[in-house]
Amino acid sequence: MFSLTEESTVRSDCPPGDERELVERAKRDPEAFGLLYERYVAQIYRYLYYRTGNPQDAEDLTARTFYRALEHLPRYQERGLPFAAWLYRIAHNIVVNWQRDRRRRPVVALDHVVMHAAEGDPQGALEEQEEREQLIRAFRCLSPERQELLILKFVEGMSNAQIGAIMGRSEGAIKSLYHRTLLELKKNLEGTEDGGARSDPGPDQ
């Protein structure tokens, strides 16, 4: 019997020493691995939810991510990056393989995202829905790296410095990447309005 403790709400901004100790314990102690899981499961799920576009696949890939983490944890070595960075790498690789296996871009469902339809204004609601779908299509056309950046920024509410730590880049590089991502989204949205989203990932260095 177990209960989800307050650990489940703790995010990666816990003290690094505490996290390091927990990771070391988790290599030998199954319950410590459980705590580590509680700490990161929601983040990884959200990331995969927005990368796949639907909750079922997000659940499946979240499970695969943590099973792989469990398998590789004994060989994990801290190299100055937060533990979350390692988990995001695993999740990223899993979702990329998943997309390759299915030989398709993910279905743009995201139906479960809360909609803010204008009540009592069907025309407004329709326009809002249309705009939202255009934005989702444009988002899906972005490279995985740029999608990851937007998810970390908006869904996780991370700062550029935190995103940089996760993605292994400097704060300035993230700021610049974000700007280029917005420009690409703008271009994609214009493309959508002209009859279909297009993608121009460009160099992300």
């Binding site: 199954p30 459980g34 469990l70 705009e131 908006f154 700007h179």
Partner: protein, 89 residues
Amino acid sequence: MEEQEATLVRISERLQQLLVPVEPPLAYVRSLRAELVEAARRRQERANRLRRILLVGAAIAGSVASVAGVTAFLVLRRRARVHPPAVVG
């Protein structure tokens, strides 16, 4: 230029509305946790068993080596008594 900046800000605001935090279902989180902890426990048990096997194996190998060493020593000593080395000169 200003127009472009305004468009980017607008896109950023729309992203903020689109990319809202979602939570995994609690039942799923709990059940996956239980599965993972169980898998970790089994893995730990396998590792412990392997460590024990290696330890016992090393102990047996050590014992065999000791017995073989003592036996070899005794055999050589007996052989030396039966056939003492010829004294030169």
